[in-house]
Structures are given as C-alpha cells and as structure tokens.
C-alpha cells in the first residue's frame, strides 16, 4: 500500500548569475538613496552606551526605523517592555510583506525560505515582489531576488560601519541635529498620497504630541497604534 501525499512541487534549484547581477544592479540605486539614513543609524550606534548591542541590532532587527527607535529608547532608559512593543509595532508591516512573498516562495526549499525571510524589509520587498510578478522562470526570479537582497544587506551593513566610524566625529555639527526627522520625511511622504494614509499620519502626529510627556515612550506606542487603526478605519469606510 502506498500513501498518497499532496505537496507543492519543488522549484528547480540553482541560480542564474546574470539575473543575480541584474538584481544587484536594480538594488544599488536604492542603497545609494538610503545612504544618509544608514550613516545616521551608524552615528547613533557609535554614540550608544552599549555599542556591541547597538551594532548587533543591524542584523538582528534589520530595519532602519525600528533600529533607530531601539537605539533611542534604550539610550534614554525606557523600560524593556516599551522598547520591545514599540519596535515590534514598527516592524509589524513585515507580516504583510512576508505574506506577499509567501505566494512567490511556495515551491522553494525550507532553507531558502528561512534564510531569505530574514532579509525581508521595505527595499527588498519592493524590488523583489515587483520582479516576482513579472514574466520569467523561477530560477531567474529567485536569482534576481537573491542578488538584490544580498546587495542591500551588504550595502546597509557598510553604511552603518561608515556611519559609526565617521558619524561620531560629525555628531556635534549643528545642522545634523535635525538629520533624524528629515531622514524620516521620505518614508512618511508616500503615505500622504491617499486619504487613509493621511489619516494615519495626522492621527499618529497628534497622539505623539499629546503623549510627548508620557513615561517610558508610551506616547510613541500609543501614536503608532492610533495611526494604524485610523488608517485602517478610513480605508474600511472608503470601501
């Protein structure tokens, strides 16, 4: 007697070097464009009271905004629970990205999924998901994603190292006092294009101002939750 099992067919293994290079080339301009942010995070790592932990977050957290929040909150003595909740709320969007990538990776090996999932972040999702939706073989798409995401991983690490080495020397430069809010602007701006996004931004900003004196960064957590809920409700009403 033989057992019948229904499994998703495995994708053909291997990589296409040409498409790995194409993925790297597609990601490179994005790495250049986020250079100021990487240097800023690097400078924050250099001035953090626990530099090894701050630097290890580069790979463990692997997300600029959550990394910045973690550095800021731990440096100012916020409670561990607040740090974790705040950073995980910031990272929550990764669930949506990973859910989208799961459709493309259904036939990939467990090892590929485990490794590549660790590299899911805004730029790798934006470029990778776009390529997976275009025509091409599984090998070409996989190769493109690996080339793109590896370029981002290496580039981001290098930016943080350079920022940590050079940024600390420029930390006293007055104009860089607004580097953090200015670097966050390009990440907020796309949300302003639609009504739900605007509702999320305005609500989060309002609650952040109201909760500016709340203890242990609770105002930040409340602002994120309020903004996310407002965006979802306005989108729901628009349907």
């Amino acid at each position: 007697m033989t057992a019948t099992t229904h499994t998703t067919p495995r994708a053909t293994g291997g990589f296409d070097r040409d498409h790995v290079r194409r993925g790297a080339a597609a990601m490179f301009p994005l790495v250049v464009s986020i250079a100021p942010l990487g240097l800023l995070v690097g400078a924050a790592v250099a001035t953090h009271p626990d530099r090894p932990a701050a630097f290890a977050s580069t790979w463990l957290v692997y997300g600029a905004s959550a990394h910045l929040a973690l550095l800021d909150l731990t440096a100012t003595g916020a409670g561990t629970a607040v740090v974790v909740v705040t950073c995980l709320l910031i990272q929550a969007r990764l669930v949506v990205y990973a859910a989208s990538m799961s459709a493309h990776w259904r036939a990939e090996s467990g090892r590929f999924k485990a490794l590549m999932a660790a590299t899911i972040v805004d730029p790798s999702f934006a470029i990778g998901d776009g390529r997976y939706r275009e025509p091409g073989s599984a090998v070409e798409k996989r190769s493109f994603f690996v080339g793109a995401t590896a370029t981002l991983w290496v580039g981001w690490t290098l930016l943080i190292v350079v920022g940590a080495v050079a940024g600390a020397r420029f930390a006293h430069v007055a104009v860089l006092q607004v580097a953090l809010p200015v670097c966050l602007v390009p990440m907020v701006a796309p949300a302003l294009a639609g009504r739900p996004g605007r509702a999320a931004v305005v609500t989060a900003a309002t609650v952040a101002v109201i909760g500016r004196s709340w203890p242990s960064g609770l105002g930040l957590v409340a602002a994120i939750v309020a903004g996310a809920v407002a965006g979802a409700i306005v989108e729901e009403q628009a349907r």
Binding site: S33, T80, A118, V182, V188, A200, V209
Partner: protein
C-alpha cells in the same frame, strides 16, 4: 554591557524574524482578519510619523525658538521635495539646507 539592552535587542530580533518567517511558512494555516491586516499596513507610516514628531518636540525643548522654527521648516521643505518624488538624498539635502539657513539667520540677528 547592559543586560537590559541585550534583552531588548534579542526580543526585538526574535520578534522581527517571526514576523518575517511565520507568514512565509504558515500563511495557509492561519488567517489574519482583514482589519488587522489593513492596520498593519499603516503601522510603518504611523511609526515613522510618531518618531519624526517626537524628534521635533525633543529638538524644540532643547534649542532656541529660531532653531525650532527652522527644524519645522526643514521638515516641511523636505516633505514638499519628497512629495515631488525626488531622491532620498535630495530630500535630506533640502531639509538640512533649510535648517542650516535658519541657523545662519539666527547667528546674523543675534545681538
């Protein structure tokens, strides 16, 4: 070494990996309510807005009025440039340039 910082780093790292990996391997077994999924998609923009505003508020508490107004103008100018879909570098340059101009004005009008 600060043990509290390491605990936070490891917990955030583990949670982040779970967010990335769990949907990839288990999405067909669990379903996220649509409203929660929509809320998650706005959490990133909300977080960055909250951090931006918190940074501006903190800056306003520790600097002069002119510098505070300069910081708000820097964010608005950067926002205007970003809305025109310019590059990240140009947005940052416009914002920092605006703040730099405010600092120069402050120096010129200072008694």
């Amino acid at each position: 070494m600060n043990i509290q910082t390491w605990i936070a780093v490891i917990m955030v790292g583990a949670g982040s990996y779970l967010f990335r990996y769990a949907p990839v391997v288990a999405l067909h077994r669990v379903s996220v309510p649509p409203l929660v999924e929509r809320a998650l998609s706005y959490a990133g923009a909300s977080a960055m807005t909250a951090m931006l505003v918190s940074a501006l508020v903190h800056h306003g508490r520790t600097t002069s009025v002119v510098a505070s107004v300069g910081a708000v103008c820097a964010v608005l100018v950067a926002g205007a440039v970003a809305m025109r879909k310019r590059s990240f570098g140009l947005v940052v340059l416009a914002g920092l340039g605006t703040y730099g101009a405010a600092l120069v004005i402050e120096t010129l009008v200072a008694p």
